[in-house]
């Protein structure tokens, strides 16, 4: 079992990813992520100075659309999918944090 990633790291990452994981899951993930990251070490260890990163496999640029209105969705259809609605809006529990 790899100790590349600590239990505290896993908890921090779970918070960033908004996953309420239980103790067992955190423990198991610490091990599994470690193994995968050990495997990724072949890539992390390469000297790639001067190599440009590739974000897109194709060299496309300037894909633009005209500033013209297209049909919007029916509000009832949109809200029908929501777990909770009120007054034409999506209802959520109280928000404690600033964005």
């Amino acid at each position: 079992m790899s100790d590349r990633i600590s239990r505290a790291d896993v908890e921090h990452v779970a918070a960033l990813a908004r996953l309420s994981l239980d103790d067992d899951e955190l423990e198991r993930l610490a091990g599994e992520l470690g193994v995968i990251l050990d495997h990724a070490e072949d890539v992390a260890a390469l000297d790639l100075t001067g190599v440009e990163p590739t974000a897109h496999p194709l060299p496309l640029v300037n894909v633009l659309r005209a500033d013209e209105v297209r049909p919007t969705l029916d509000r009832d259809e949109v809200l029908a999918a929501a777990p909770a609605v009120e007054d034409g809006r999506f209802r959520v529990p109280r928000i404690l944090d600033a964005p």
Binding site: H12, A15, L16, R18, A55, H56, L60, V61, N62, V63, L64, R65, A66, D67, E68, V69, R70, P71, T72, L73, R75, V78, L79, E86, D87, G88, R89, F90, R91, V92, P93, R94, I95, L96, D97, A98, P99
Partner: protein
């Protein structure tokens, strides 16, 4: 010794302005304020699974226009990135923004003779709007919240200044000038009160002569130029007081409370500033072509500083009036069209009406000058009616009030209401003599009284004379005739 003299504020501003496009940044939903909640939405701006963004070409055009106005560099290519954080007003729980490669870099703006450098301007999508229910509508006391995504995906340009600003007043000047430029370019409505322009301030203080910057605090939630000034002044004072007390200033975000006139710290989760930016794989780079750049260059109109100077020279108006005029989108064009149609009246009068009653009407109704029932040549007609003595200023105000609301020309209103000013000396003298006879007691009292009494009585007699002409008597002529009769 005054603390404010020993300390020097260092201020940088982040201005977010909504771009005045027809549709949103990445989809064809209307970019419209005030619609029924969740009606201007589609799979894309709702972030529904499987939807994909496509960039609105007008946004690039607007950015390039802005670049020419403030001498920005336009890099060969800019890219969009995802800023990842969870928030219920953000449909995808990431914001598509620009990070390492913004569309514009290194601009400058002249603020009352001082150059403020602008680090960058980048494009990003706006969030939805949240209503906080219960607890007086405040976020922290609310029982729950309601989200409307009409605003989600509206195009924003974020303009980030260098920390070149040293006072609240200068900060206001910067925003005011930026607003004038954006309005002149036609790229934004720049209404702080409606939220189409939002300003965050990064404020720190340091002892004069110290090179190193103090810890910066981000102040948010100012919804007018006035509150921007107040919030910065308050924050400077708060930080100086803390420094004096030997306290450490925390790097944090603080919320301006307009009612209490103070800033409050905001709770933020651990690690919440780790936004995990990475290039947005669903969008391709923006690489402005020569044709796009040329088109933008050709569509840049006269900018506010040059425009103000020209109007001050040509029309003889003050800088303050020129600023007020140029601060309102569409109003300078309205005034210029009116001036072109003028006969006997002066441009200065046009400006006075524009920055007075016309502006008040625009603010009250939320209309833009282009849609007023009173066309610019109608305003010119009104000014000419005053200039040729047909209308008094007081009557002109009434006529304007009606002409701004009804599709009627000023001359038509004057005719309908029989308002034409009476300037005929013979006719006015007859009316005045009748008034003096009817108020012989007052005339006696005038003659017997001291200066104070005389002034009061004279005012009374003038009022009676105006009443007798039903307001249409030319006040200059009446005044002169009254003075002659009262013996100077």
């Amino acid at each position: 010794m005054n603390d404010a003299v020993r300390y020097e504020p260092v201020i940088g501003l982040e201005v977010h302005c909504e771009l005045a496009t027809t549709t949103k940044l990445f989809c064809g939903c209307p970019n419209e304020f005030g619609s029924e909640p969740n009606t201007n939405v589609c799979p894309i701006c709702l972030g529904l699974p499987g939807s994909l963004p496509v960039l609105n070409e007008r946004v690039v055009e607007f950015a390039l226009r802005f670049a020419h106005a403030l001498q920005f560099d336009v890099p060969e290519r800019s890219i969009f990135a995802r800023k990842n954080y969870f928030y219920p007003d953000m449909p995808k729980d990431y914001q598509v923004s620009q990070y390492e490669h913004p569309i514009l870099a290194d601009g400058v703006i002249d603020v009352d003779g001082t150059v403020v450098r602008i680090e960058r301007a980048h494009l990003e999508e706006d969030t939805g709007k949240t209503l906080h229910m219960g607890g007086g509508g405040r976020i922290h006391d609310a029982e729950y919240s309601l989200v409307d995504y009409n605003r989600a995906g509206v195009p924003l340009m974020e303009i980030v200044s260098r920390p070149d600003i040293t006072s609240a007043e200068q900060a206001r000047g910067y925003v005011s000038e930026l607003r004038a430029v954006l309005a002149a370019l036609g790229v934004s409505d720049v209404k702080m009160e409606e939220g189409s322009m939002r300003v965050d301030a990064n404020v720190s203080v340091r002892l004069v002569g110290v090179e190193e910057l103090g810890t910066k605090v981000e102040v948010k939630n100012m919804n007018s130029l006035r509150s921007l000034g107040r919030a910065i002044d308050h924050e400077i004072e708060r930080q100086i007081a803390m420094c004096e007390a030997g306290e450490r200033i925390a790097q944090e975000t603080r919320h301006w409370d307009e009612d209490d006139g103070v800033t409050h710290g905001m709770r933020s989760k651990e690690g919440s500033s780790d936004y995990r930016y990475f290039p947005e794989p669903d969008l391709v780079p923006v690489a402005p072509t020569d044709a796009q750049r040329a088109l933008a260059r050709d569509s840049v109109p006269e900018l506010p500083a040059a425009h103000r100077a020209r109007l001050m020279g040509e029309w003889g108006i003050t800088e303050a009036d020129a600023r007020v005029l140029l601060d309102v989108s569409g109003l300078p064009g309205y005034a210029e069209a009116a001036v072109l149609a003028l006969g006997a009246g002066s441009a200065k009068d046009i400006v006075n009406w524009c920055t007075g009653d016309v502006l008040a009407h625009l603010n009250e109704t939320g209309l833009s000058p282009e849609v007023l029932p009173l066309a610019p040549d109608g305003l010119a007609e009104l000014v000419d009616l005053v200039a040729d003595g047909t209308l008094s200023r007081g009557l002109a105000k009434d006529v304007l009030g009606e002409a701004l609301r009804e599709p009627k020309r000023p001359k038509q209103i004057v005719e309908e209401r029989g308002l034409a000013q009476e300037s005929d000396e013979g006719a006015l003298a007859t009316v005045l003599d009748e008034v003096l006879v009817a108020n012989a007691e007052a005339v006696d009292a005038y003659r017997a009284g001291d200066d104070k009494k005389r002034k009061k009585t004279r005012g009374f007699l003038m009022g009676e004379a105006m009443k007798a002409t039903r307001g249409s008597g030319n006040p200059q002529t009446l005044n002169r005739l009254l003075d002659e009769r009262l013996g100077g």
